[in-house]
Symmetry: C2
């Protein structure tokens, strides 16, 4: 048993069954060890961003880490932007980053770099294994850390991977994620504050908290107190649609968010920090809640926010609890399918009726999708993924990982064309793995958000030179050609009727499909 075998045995022992990988020479023993570890599935990505993004998507659905396998500093570097998103999504991830053999580092060979320094800004935890004997314990520690909703980066020197263990050890067992501490005094204070605030109270569920049970508890509290329930703009996964309890998504645009929050003087933060603007603008305030708002931090980020919210519910007086019990989940309400040329608004209505039961919707629609959350609030029950860290190009990788985690569910990726151009080779992994991902490319052929942002930052005139950096024409990308090149069947549509037909074909397919929606 060499170090790589020991590492993989420990992953398998702890239920880490998927390894998204883009290996190189220094990872060859790890790759060879996969042959002897049938419980860990290797999934090849052609680019490291596809690998780390897939791990994020996998974690959003399972609350458990997948492993990644990355090749030295530059391989890790290619995966960092999606690790940033994973970190902001509180996604459990265990990175295994191969490095040179320990004795080779000092020679400063061309691929040598500061791997720990590269990992640190995008990891909660970084460790270089000192030798083959340490690996099993190190990776168990990494899994324990990851299960807390963190990114753990374990650096694997090539000689630690290939050396034989002097004492083959049993695989250590990683710790489970802790449940949130329920503080009775905080629960009581929250209940009292919301009762006092009435309709000027709001509950904001951020991070991984907007799961069905937590939303149900929040919905009942809202019914009893008159509060409004919000989900964070950047909540990684919201369980929503018919049968779930309604919540509004806090808007992205600063003015709109400030306007919405100005209606409240009491804000209960559930796995959320005081909300702030995504970017600063010369003449806008960077905080979103009205100054002076009473904020209560109910619980830190957790997928089990139902526990502290239930405690708030239990702290309400009897009459309020009776009222709470009258709260009703959302009724299914599917709109009529629109017709004709596609607009972003019509696309929202189309989606509302088209999301399949239990689908996972991965939303990187950016400007084209501003109406989607409201339009789809009463669709069939589904999970909705939001952007988390703001690094774009995540939807294709994250959709791929979610589909691998949940092979029985359909994944709908809503991808703006500008964003999809960051990591288009992810489509190849979708084709190879035969995942059920339907990608809609929302093709407005420009960085539309930057056109808005030019105005927001006070630039009135966009000249020709600046304009060339904001448009995606000259040439127009032919998404059908790109997608087919990577092995994913594709069509381009310009009307809702064409979209409907293409969408039905895509849902009926065995594997992935892509539809370019020309806007």
């Amino acid at each position: 048993m060499n170090g790589a075998d020991s590492l993989l045995a420990t992953l398998e022992h702890n239920g880490v069954t998927t390894c998204f990988a883009n290996p190189g020479t220094s990872e060859m023993h790890f790759v060879a060890a996969l042959d002897g570890t049938p419980g860990v599935r290797g999934v090849l990505g052609l680019f490291e961003g596809a690998v780390t993004g897939a791990a994020d998507g996998y974690a959003r659905m399972t609350d458990q880490p997948a492993a990644t396998l990355l090749h030295l500093g530059p391989g890790l570097a290619n995966g960092l932007s999606n690790l940033h998103n994973a970190l902001r999504a509180h996604s459990p991830v265990v990175n295994v980053i191969g490095d040179h053999a320990s004795y080779h580092r000092a020679l400063d060979a061309p691929l040598t770099s500061d791997v720990e320094g590269t990992a640190r800004p995008f990891s909660h935890w970084v460790r270089t294994s000192i030798d083959e004997q340490a690996l099993a314990h190190d990776v168990a520690d990494a899994i324990t850390v990851a299960r807390r909703g963190q990114v753990a980066s374990l650096i694997l020197p090539a000689d630690a991977a290939w050396n034989e263990l002097s004492t083959p050890a049993a695989s250590p067992t990683a710790l489970p994620a802790p449940l949130p501490v329920v503080d009775g005094a905080v629960a009581e204070a929250t209940a009292r504050a919301l009762l006092d605030a009435g309709s000027r109270g709001a509950i904001l569920l951020g991070g991984r908290t907007p799961r069905a049970d937590a939303l149900a508890a929040a919905g009942r509290i809202a019914q009893a107190t008159g509060a409004t329930v919000f989900t964070g703009t950047f909540a990684p996964r919201v369980e929503r649609g018919a049968g779930r309890f309604a919540a509004q998504k806090l808007p992205y645009a600063v003015d709109e968010a400030q306007q919405v929050l100005s209606q409240f003087d009491t804000l209960v933060l559930v796995g959320a920090k005081p909300p702030v603007a995504f970017f600063a603008y010369p003449t806008k305030r960077s905080t979103l809640a009205t100054p002076g708002t009473h904020m209560i931090d109910l619980t830190p980020e957790t997928p089990r926010a139902d526990l502290p919210l239930q405690a708030v519910l239990d702290s309400l007086p009897q009459a309020a609890r009776t009222k709470a019990a009258e709260a009703k989940p959302v009724d299914l309400d599917l709109p009529q399918r629109p017709t004709g040329t596609i607009t972003p608004e019509k696309l929202g209505v189309f989606l509302a009726g088209a999301i399949p039961e239990n689908a996972i919707v991965v939303d990187e629609s950016i400007t084209s999708g501003r109406t989607f959350p409201e339009a789809t609030a009463a669709s069939r029950p589904h999970d909705w993924f939001n952007p988390t860290g703001g690094s774009i190009g995540w939807a294709l990788p994250v959709a791929t990982g979610a589909a691998i985690a949940c092979p029985d569910r359909t994944v709908i990726a809503l991808e703006s064309d500008g964003s999809g151009l960051y990591m288009p080779q992810t489509l190849w992994t979708q084709a190879r793995e035969g995942v059920r991902v339907v990608t809609l490319i929302l093709a407005n052929r420009k960085y539309q958000i930057l056109r808005h942002e030019m105005k927001n930052v006070g630039v009135e005139m966009v000249g020709d030179t600046a304009a060339t950096l904001l448009d995606l024409e000259r040439p127009v990308v032919d998404w059908v050609s790109v997608s087919r090149g990577f092995g994913v069947p594709a069509e381009s549509v310009e009307t809702i009727e064409e979209l409907s037909a293409a969408y039905e074909r895509a849902l009926a397919a065995d594997g992935p499909a892509l539809i370019e929606v020309v806007l």
Copy 2:
């Protein structure tokens, strides 16, 4: 005049005329300022690796920095792997990395990260501008640093970009790159050692040193002393072919390199460190020169190694100098074009005859290209780019930047299919800019080098699971479709005759072209 205007004026004042960019909201004032700075051309990349790689290619040809424009920590992160290569190529690069407004950082908005920490492992110099007034001096410092063959990363807070300067200042002038110090004693010792060593002497030109003048001086020294001239395996740019002085490329494979170097007991290092293996292997030595070899460090890395080499030449005794004068450059020797099915060997012969006068050959052919350097030694004069840092996927971006630096020259990119799949969207920038780049995709449909490396690290049996991580089939990438999707005309060829015809069409085209060469 705001900070962004001042920054751009300073770039223009110092001859930094090209900015490869992938901007976001925090860079909008910089983008707007481009409209008022006609001397700086903005070139859009759809992915940051395309941006930083293009800056590397631009610098390899000009020895001057281009600027890059990147968006916060994740945007920088996407560009790091090609910055690693640029750093190892000693390419001058000035990165401008937008960050949140200074007062916004503390709010920890979703896109906040440690930008300085992210830049540091892949930069020689990192600075965050403190305010708009400091920007001009900061970017002038960055240019000074870059001209030394370094990567300079300047972080630009959004408010420093948008604030008006209280005192509009003249643009400071950056310092030129210093010429190498020529040490007479070292030159004399080198001359003496090489005379003593005779045919057991060798001269290794690493880094940016293998330019025509330096190779001519080294070739004359070799003629006088009996030494052999090598260029480093990872020299970023070698001026070679007919009319230049011959040099052998030090082989990549460890055993082969050790075998070659065992013939020498004296090794003169010109801009090179003692050569080491790219990777460590369980049973191989990591250093390449025979232990006990007498090494002389003639000069540090510089594109002007002709100066210290000329000093060595001048230190030779009269008789040796007379002999040196007899040295002859390479005669043009174009082989007959081969025929039939394409093999890597035949492709090398094809290239030997097909490289146009003054072409720039960007070589990321990896296993398929092992015979290319020797085969093309007597081709028409050209520049040959080698991998430098070992981070793969660099050839398309670097070729694009080289073509933008040298619009009158043809660029031939030799790209292995696995490598080309890292940053294929670079093709779009080629199409938009209409660059004269002919890309040959060498499609063996596997990570062939990793199959070799499995054996090298001692893995005898590759099982089915491991094999899935090493092959690029299921599905086969259709490069013609991918390339056309990004706007670059493409063909696929399987015989030398088809290749010849496609190649002639590509050379005759106004803009870029891609040929998938099925191996």
